[in-house]
């Protein structure tokens, strides 16, 4: 069965909402949760996720709250922390590793920490049974794909197109996917631009999809109540999970 990974921004509209949404997503069949750590300068993200990041920070989000929330979530769903490198580095990788082990979080997704810079941290995380997810992009030549794929843990995050999250772009990925398969048995999940309409097509040839902006767009919809947002996002998650497995 193909897997669904859901990204949500922690702390928007509030922390309690984040916990409720995570649990509801788990019930809707989401396999893994990417719990986003808001950052002031999210350069890999499009306007939707950037907005959620900035609003959460405006609400006063602190990293200490991430740890509280994660402890309530990680028992219900496979959870990874997704964030930009600076908060991890500044707050302390050691502390993050310790807190991840404490709250049951299984690893990290750090989009601005490429393979070369990630090396020392990846080893440190592995020692504590934590995964650091590797990215592969459609711009990567085969030689680079082989280096990254050989070493990949848990799943490979295949970036669906050259761009930022949540854009309408798409690219032909079959040669990138076959290169990955040549060097690795690690499952490949595709992310960027996946929503209810595109999920089936994007899931072609891979083992799962990662959905972010499509959920966060609902998160940001002020015309909906908290309960309505949770219902709508979970319904979409369920629909996507079904579509990728049709």
């Amino acid at each position: 069965m193909k897997k669904l990974v859901a990204y949500i921004t922690t702390g928007y509209p509030d922390l309690e909402f984040t916990v409720d949404l995570a649990k509801s997503l788990a019930e809707a069949g989401t396999d893994t949760l990417e719990l986003g750590i808001p950052f002031s300068d999210p350069v890999a993200d499009g306007p939707v996720i950037e907005k959620a990041n900035l609003l959460s920070l405006k609400n006063g989000f602190k990293i200490s709250q991430l740890f509280e929330v994660s402890a309530q979530i990680a028992s219900d769903i496979d959870t990874l922390w997704m964030g930009y490198f600076n908060p991890f580095y500044h707050f302390g990788i050691d502390r993050f590793i310790e807190e991840a082990n404490k709250s049951g979080v299984n690893g990290f997704i750090i989009p601005d920490l490429p393979f070369e810079e990630a090396k020392p941290y990846k080893a440190q995380m592995k020692e504590k049974s934590l995964a650091l997810i590797d990215f592969i992009a459609p711009t990567d030549p085969k030689e680079r794909i082989s280096k990254i794929a050989k070493d990949a843990d848990k799943f490979i995050y295949l970036v669906a197109y050259a761009g930022i999250t949540g854009s309408g772009k798409s690219e032909e990925l079959s040669s990138t996917i076959s290169s990955i398969r040549e060097f690795s048995n690690t499952p490949v999940y595709v992310g960027f631009g996946v929503n209810a309409d595109t999920a089936k097509a994007k899931a072609k040839g891979v083992d799962g999809v990662i959905v972010g902006s499509a959920f966060v767009k609902i998160l940001l919809d002020d015309s909906l109540s908290h309960t309505q947002k949770i219902e709508k996002i979970s319904k979409m998650a369920k629909e996507i999970k079904e579509k990728i497995n049709e």
Partner: protein, 406 residues
């Protein structure tokens, strides 16, 4: 000495992956990594290549107006009882040192077959310099500028448009240089295959900090031979302002191995170091932003703080990674100048020497007055006037009053 400028190897060159000690590196989304690898290979191929630098030199001499003069500031020297020399990067075409690296980067982009260039800009000088070379070499050009800077530098926005560039006013975050760079990176990730990013300072992922340092080091290469000719000796001090740090590293680089020369970089002290400022070395800590590790203004959670400076070009919460390294190694001294001190120096240089400096460069000039007298008197001091103040007239007019015409 070669008849024209070719970069040299430096003892402070980064390692293969672009690290200056713990600083520098490449912290970018994976999509850009192959692009940076390619740029690194392409730059290494031309780094010491005579033909490439001969082409650059042709445009420097005939288009930019290099070498820029080294001017003995007689009136300042008398007042301070010292010998003050000004490196006149303000006399370059488009009014600042930024044209040095846009010319060289555009020639490189052309060689790589890229037809589109993009740039971020703070004060607008780098944006204008990029739009200028785009017109010169027939490249498509898009400039990203914070909405706050668009408002305070409207003349430069008009100049960029006049030159044929498209200007994006970036509305996110603090609406200044930091946010302009975020959006330029987003555009670059999206158009990685056919777009050359002309970064405006010695920052960003490897190879940019090294490449732009190499290019801008023509400033110090010229200044060194000019001052040796004028004084028969090296200067005691070399002073330059620092936002990202391109004009500073440009003038320092050829003096770093001369132990008798003290290089001093001046950060934006803004409203004072206990208030809002842009002094990342003085008040920041190591962190990652815009593709590199360096000193950053950040809170306890690693969220980037807003910088402040009277000068849009220094209004940035980070600094080039080589400066972070040179600070830690104790090779360069760093200090800062407040908005008020810079504005005073802006008037001082204008009225003493008839040279109106950019607000950025005014920070370097102001340091002549901030230093203790015994550090100044009897010394030979070289100051980099990185740009001219024409772009700052509207802002200056709001802050200064000289009465009406008589």
């Amino acid at each position: 000495m070669s008849e024209f400028y070719i970069p040299k190897k430096s003892p402070y060159d980064p390692d293969e992956l672009g690290h200056f000690g713990i600083f520098g590196g490449r912290y970018v989304p994976e999509t850009l990594m192959p692009v940076l690898e390619e740029l690194k290979r392409d730059y290494e191929a031309v780094r010491f290549d005579r033909d490439f630098w001969a082409e650059v030199d042709y445009y420097y001499k005939n288009y930019v107006g290099r070498p820029s003069s080294l001017y003995f500031a007689e009136n300042l020297s008398k007042e301070l009882n010292a010998k003050i020399y000004l490196k006149r990067e303000d006399l370059n075409h488009t009014g600042a040192h930024k044209i040095n690296h846009t010319v060289a980067q555009a020639i490189l982009a052309k060689r790589l077959g890229k037809k589109k260039i993009i740039a971020e800009t703070g004060a607008g000088q780098h944006g204008v310099a990029t739009a200028t070379v785009a017109a010169l070499f027939g490249l498509e050009c898009e400039i990203f500028m914070g909405a706050k800077d668009v408002a305070r530098q409207e003349l430069n926005v008009f100049r960029m448009k006049l030159l044929g560039a498209k200007v994006h006013a970036v509305q996110s975050g603090s609406k200044t240089l930091k946010d302009a760079m975020n959006d330029a990176i987003r555009h670059w990730v999206t158009n990685a295959r056919d777009t050359f990013y002309v970064i405006g300072t010695v920052a960003g992922p490897h190879p940019y900090p090294m490449m732009i340092r190499d290019i801008q080091s023509i400033i110090g290469w010229e200044a060194k031979s000019q001052i040796l000719k004028a004084e028969g000796r090296l200067p005691d001090k070399v002073i330059a302002c620092i936002g990202g740090g391109s004009n500073a590293i440009g003038i320092f680089n050829h003096f770093l191995e001369d132990k008798e020369v003290e290089c001093i970089g001046i950060e934006a002290g803004g409203l004072g170091l206990d208030s809002k400022h842009g002094a990342s070395l003085a008040k920041g800590s190591p962190g990652v932003l815009h593709g590199q590790m360096s000193y950053l203004l950040q809170d306890e959670d690693g969220q980037i703080l807003e910088a402040h400076s009277i000068s849009a070009g220094l209004d940035y919460p980070g600094i080039g990674p080589e400066h972070a390294y040179l600070k830690e190694q104790g090779v360069v001294k760093y200090d800062n100048i407040t908005d008020k001190e810079a504005l005073d120096a802006f008037v001082w240089l204008s009225q003493k020497e008839g040279i109106i400096p950019a607000f950025e460069s005014s920070h370097a000039v102001a340091y002549l007055k901030k230093m203790p007298k015994d550090e100044v008197e009897g010394r030979v001091i070289l100051v980099n006037v990185s740009g001219r103040g024409d772009k700052d007239m509207i802002q200056a007019k709001e802050m200064l009053s000289f009465g009406g015409a008589e």
